[in-house]
Amino acid sequence: MKKQPIRPADASLQRHLSLSRRHFLRGVGACIALPMFESAFPGSLRAATAGAAAGAPGAVTASGMPLRMAVAYFPNGAHQANWWPTGEGSAFELGKTMQPLAALKNSLQVVGGLDHKEAMPGNDGAGDHARANATFLTGARARKTDSANIEVGTSIDQVIAQRVGHLTRLSSLELSCDFVRKSGRCDSGYSCAYLYNISWASPETPAAPEPNPRLVFERLFGQGAPSERRANFKERQMTEKSLLDFVRDDTRALERQLGYNDHQKLDEYLTGVREIEQRIQRAENFGDLPDPHADTPAGIPADYGAHMDIMYDLLAMAFQTDSTRIATLLLAGDGTNRAFPEIGIPEGHHYCSHHRMNPELMDKVAQIDLYYMQHFARFLTKLEQIKDVDGSSVLHNSMIIYGCGNADGNRHTHDNLPVILAGAGGGTLQAGRYVKEESQPMSNLFLSLADRMGMPDLARIGDSSGRLKNV
């Protein structure tokens, strides 16, 4: 029996194992050192300019830089008192949970008053975690089903990616740090698909996120040793192309033999075929792959904090190299019962989040919130340090949502959701504020971001009732 040999990336990884181990020991976390050099995006700028000439400038700042949008989802709601700032507008003080963001206070806004009514029970009863997750970027109500006819809505990141994704090598990037599936049912009659996906390519098909840093890296920058990546990538594209021709026809032939219900699955397959073809086509237009000057990371780190850091790093690298402008990162599916022994919390997160106002458990929730925030702050700091060629930071030219579809994990509320909007959107967002919006759909924020990504014509998403004016 042949065993899967070590892939080239793993081999090169082993050469650097000791180095990365030391990094871990020092608590740096990620095993790729991200060099702080200017972002580079010659290929995409061409594309962006071409788009502008055609009268559809998408995902570009006024200074001609790429405008990026990312969403990071943290689970189980937030410790309310510690989350919300005091004051209002530009005169505000960060709460305890956001202390790690102190240095970046002027690069972000805390937005209050956003709701996800479609995540509330309605007639569907329990299942707030599944709904929190599924509704977060769709603004839509998840059909309560364990498997048949899974349906929620296309998520805002995918809506935008379907419009402006052609400007970059990858139309979007979906990442996750939640890679172990619990057995049994997920949440009160909801399919696990709702819990482990925040990006939905269509109302029926989740855009499954990638948890393995090595595979994310290889997707972005090619496989193998740094000097071989470009060649490997080209060769792979050639092979994929030849495979696609055959399987497309094969799928169509197959469709004729199968029943109606199977068509949806085959359509998923054909959608994939089309997307990969487009991606290959784009890759040819964009020329050589960018070189991130970094080693291929290992697989999934055992340490959760390190896993988060490396996924954030990859996201930063993707933005820096303009490999994509749209990304989502699911830090953990809502309802996760992950324990945090690394910060002295052996209990599960979900267990703690139902604290019933017990101060001890509430404090643990606060510590977990803080832990997540520290890693997010590290990410923003990184984006702040990378400069675009217009002299602004990548953070300035980005719009980053950090939030959760559960507001208070203890009571499963879905109004006044904990949401941070980081970055200045290339100068179109008024960062440095605590905005208390009047109660309104979170989806309104999505429309405001879609405007900036070049989709002012997007009339609605999910339960949106208009645009969020004051951002």
């Binding site: 509330m120 089903t145 009160s188």
Partner: protein, 918 residues
């Protein structure tokens, strides 16, 4: 039912297939006969409902928004969800509630029959097989299928994202989506696997490969995987060659060092038949590969290749050891003061003995890190104590041969040094290659799997014919059904275009076509074409190839083997199905069923990763917290999983009663797990069946470590989760989900009777709230019965310093004093609930879809047979395999889809209302 006899007669007359069409048409008419439904309702059912149900669901009461007296005749057939809920609740004894009169068994049977055959319009003899959405291979099935098809272990768990699950299983067609990202991975994997598994040439140099674990010590035992460089070693392996010729011995070894410098080094000597062939010095390196290639002439026959490691004196570092040879101290040697100056019994030179502990353990000298004080005073030259400090390594006795002039008493073997540093040598592989002459070449590994007739002919027409032959075989296996000529033409074309290119081999052409096969939806999905001529909405048996796949993915989680293929091709699989199933269960591949089914039904998979904190579980503080003395490591977690799997496997292989999964006087343990359970008399790592004493609380999966752990929180037990687990996975009567706004329990937390409240007391306070009590009175007593087991599955007598009371009462009235009595109740009074639950779980797993209202008659039949046969497992498995749902498929038209999707939605909620407590 007047129509049934007619149909069975029709079937006899017309033959199976044709009859099937009529039957389905008949079923549709049956459903439409609403006047009969109404008549039987008013005559048989309504009086019963008035009698038992109207207190809450009639006469103005609408508990749970259900009022039976508001049903119109037209409603009777339009509310499958309602009737399913009635059926479930009445049969499980959950309704009617309260002290009032309860329906008799005869009444319940009459109600059940009316619901099944009138309200739901089912036809027991000709059940609707339902629809199964085409199933994508999940990660496990993909791995296994590639393994069987390609002879290659592909790490699908690392390369593919996790599969979404539905109904608690990861093989549900509707939940297994295929995103662009996943398709991209499938394309990449197709290329990677084809390139890795398919040989590129037809003949290669013969190689005989041994890996590190094949090398044995002189006493015949396996050498360690990592051999410490500071320790002498001799390991060998015997090869056989057929011809007297020149060969190459090619060895690859890895030097693996800690990050810190390790001063040990050694001579590595490769010998062939005792004769040294290669020697080199191995010094510290974090990671280095040694490659050795030596030409040797060998006679036909056996030959021994051996490695000898001879440690050398440690390399001088800023701090060095006194080193004595022949009475003199080496110049410039500095001495480390502290540890070496403190004589301990370890400092005594150990007498050479056959059985010595590893060098590192007998050595006293310790070299400090590089920043240790360099100002150590030199030791007195030749002082006896110094000789002692040098701690001769008795195992290094062979060293005597190096310098026979030195008296034995003064001989000092090279010293192994114990530091935080490590340096090891690992044998990766050792090959004997050759002979080099082409006439000796052989087909490469895996060649015959794809090219059974050897190398392809050179002549172009014959070459194409051969390509066609091997590709037909391959594609048929990969698609798990015959490949049509048009598709085969395409594949041959792809192969030909490649192998005709200069420098490309026939095998490379085949590999190119194989990539296409592996990327095809026909490989990635389990395609089950609807039999030609099946009218829309009707059902027909799945063809024999589909049946072969249904059986093999059910029992093996992989593709059919040759025997199944042959039977399907000959059209005799259905008729020999029972023998095939028996054969399949005996095959080691059936472990996949045991693992994947128990892993998900009983959630035993999760014991391997769910967070558990032994210190918190045991309530340890202070010093004890640093050394809890309880292993809850990966080995323990896997042992727990093994126990459950072996329990199920034994029941399955011996065809015992499924009741034994709940209550038995035996279980499967090894020493480690037995000790964890407090069971004595089990020694060694291997698992075996252990008879339990009559009063043992163990035996059965409910009191297995795995289930007790997966139903706990990381720091404490969760009676709610445990109770829910029993309701959900054993009795099949999950309570409705909790209300969205959970009330605070602060009053209860303040303390009860002046002491810290036990979990039981807290939960009891919880149940006093009417909002909570209706469900928690079902869950909590069940869960509290297991309170004698902590969150790691260990026995305990107290919780929060209060004695544990496991006694309780089921909501259906049965009282128990402890967990043994609870198991007895489940396997006696509530056995039908358990049979039904297990049948539903197995059917879900086997069918790859959730159960629907139209499956209820099938489930009932299996349950009835199971009960007649005292729960024999084969009755259950046969029942599922022979069910219409497994054997047949519905030609689902768009109209029927619209019809069922609405029902499906609600029915699911009623059938499998689940929980919210992850």
């Amino acid at each position: 039912m007047p129509i049934s006899p007619l149909l069975s007669r029709l079937r006899r007359v017309l033959g199976l297939n044709l009859a099937a069409l009529f039957v389905c048409a008949g079923a549709a008419q049956l459903r439409a006969d609403s006047s009969q439904v109404a008549a039987t309702f008013h005559r048989d059912i309504q009086p019963m409902l008035e009698n038992y149900c109207y207190d809450c669901h009639g006469d103005g009461s609408r508990k749970g928004k259900v009022a039976f007296d508001e049903l119109s005749d037209a409603d009777l057939q339009a509310k499958p969800d309602l009737w399913m809920a009635v059926l479930k609740n009445v049969r499980a004894g959950l309704m009617p509630q309260g002290e009032g009169a309860r329906p008799s068994a005869e009444e319940i049977a009459r109600l059940a029959d009316w619901i099944k055959y009138q309200a739901l319009g089912l036809d027991a003899a000709n059940a609707d097989p339902g629809r199964v959405t085409v199933r994508r291979l999940n990660r496990i099935e993909y791995h296994n299928t590639i393994h069987d098809l390609m002879g290659f272990d592909f790490n699908s768990e690392a390369e593919f994202p996790p599969d979404d699950t539905g109904h608690g299983f990861d093989n549900i067609g509707d939940a297994l989506s295929i995103s662009p990202l996943l398709l991209e991975k499938y394309l990449e994997s197709a290329e990677f696997i084809a390139n890795s598994a398919i040989p590129k040439v037809s003949r290669v140099l013969a190689t005989r490969t041994a890996t590190g674990k094949d090398f044995l010590k002189d006493d015949g035992s396996h050498g360690p995987d990592l051999m410490p460089v500071g320790k002498p070693a001799h390991v060998s392996h015997t090869y056989t060659v057929a011809d007297t010729e020149d060969y190459h011995v090619v060895a690859e070894l890895q030097v693996r060092g800690s990050f810190d410098f390790d001063p040990n080094h050694c001579n590595l000597i490769l010998t062939v038949d005792g004769e040294p062939r290669h020697q080199e010095e191995v010094i510290w390196s974090e990671s280095k590969t040694l490659k050795i290639d030596e030409k040797v002439h060998l006679a036909a026959g056996d030959h021994v290749v051996a490695f000898e490691m001879q440690p050398l004196e440690p390399i001088k570092t800023p701090v060095q050891l006194p080193f004595q040879r022949g009475g003199g101290q080496r110049a410039g040697a500095a001495q480390k003061e502290k540890p070496a100056d403190k004589p301990t019994d370890k400092d005594k030179p150990a007498a050479p003995a056959a059985d010595v502990p590893p060098v590192a353990d007998v050595v006293a000298a310790v070299v400090a890190a590089a920043d240790a004080p360099a100002a150590s005073k030199p030791g007195p030259a030749g002082a006896p104590a110094d000789a002692a400090k040098a701690a001769p390594d008795p195992a290094a006795a062979p060293d005597a041969a190096v310098d026979p002039a030195v008296p034995a008493s003064l001989k000092v073997a090279p010293v192994a040094v114990r530091t935080a540093a490590r340096l090891d040598l690992r044998i990766v592989s050792v090959q004997i290659n050759g002979p080099a002459a082409e006439k000796y070449w052989i087909p490469p590994e895996n060649h015959s799997r794809f090219f059974p007739n050897g190398a392809a002919p050179a002549e172009p027409v014959a070459r194409v014919a051969y390509a066609r032959e091997v590709l037909r075989d391959f594609a048929t296996k990969a698609f798990r059904r015959p490949v049509d000529d048009a598709k085969l033409d395409q594949l041959v074309g792809i192969a030909k275009r490649t192998y005709e290119q200069p420098g490309k081999t026939f095998e490379e052409g085949f590999a190119k076509a194989a990539m296409v096969v592996l990327a095809s939806p026909r490989f990635l999905f389990r395609v089950e074409p609807v039999a030609a001529g099946t009218p829309v909405g009707a059902s027909a048996p799945v063809d024999e190839y589909a049946l072969a796949s249904r059986l093999s993915y059910l029992l093996w989680s992989t593709m059919p083997d040759d025997e199944l293929f042959r039977a399907a091709a000959a059209g005799r699989l259905r008729s020999t199905q029972a023998a095939q199933v028996a054969r399949m269960l005996k095959d080691p591949k059936a472990q996949a069923f045991v693992k994947n089914f128990t892993g998900q039904w009983l959630e035993a998979r999760d014991v391997e990763f769910l967070p558990i904190n032994p210190v918190a579980v045991l309530g340890l503080t202070g010093r004890k917290a640093n050394a809890p003395g309880v292993d809850f490591d990966g080995v323990m977690r896997r042992a727990m999983r093994t126990e459950v799997e072996m329990d199920f496997d034994y029941m399955m292989k011996e065809d015992r009663s499924v009741l034994e999964l709940i209550d038995s006087n035996y279980t499967f343990l090894n020493e480690k797990l037995a000790a964890h359970y407090g069971i004595t008399g089990v020694s060694g790592d291997s698992f075996r069946r252990v008879e339990l004493p009559p009063d043992s609380p163990r035996g059965g999966v409910l009191t297995s470590g795995a289930v007790l752990v997966v139903t706990s929180n990381p720091t404490r037990t969760s009676p709610v989760k445990r109770g829910l687990f029993v309701l959900d996975n054993i009795l099949g009567i999950p309570p409705p989900p909790p209300p969205p706004d959970i009330p605070a329990l602060e009053e209860a937390k303040k303390g009860i009777d002046g002491h810290e409240p036990t979990l039981r007391e807290l939960l009891s306070a919880h149940r006093s709230s009417p909002l909570c009590s209706s469900c928690h009175s079902r869950m909590d007593p069940l869960g509290l019965a297991f309170e004698n087991f902590n969150a790691m599955g260990m026995w305990r007598d107290t919780d929060a310093k209060q004695p544990i009371t496991a006694a309780g009462q089921l909501v259906t009235g049965e009282a128990f004093a402890n967990v043994r009595e609870l198991k007895h109740i489940i396997t006696h009074e509530r056995r039908l609930d358990y049979y039904r639950c297990l049948t539903e779980k197995l059917m879900t797993y086997a069918l790859g879809r959730g159960l629907e209202y139209y499956d209820v008659a099938t489930v009932d039949q299996i349950v009835a047979r199971l009960d007649q046969e005292q729960g024999k497992f084969s009755v259950l498995l046969d029942g599922v395999i022979q069910s219409a749902a497994f054997q047949r498929q519905r030609n689902a038209p768009s109209a029927a889809v619209a019809d069922t999707s609405g029902r499906t939605h609600g029915t699911n909620a009623a059938l499998s209302a689940s929980n919210d407590s992850r």
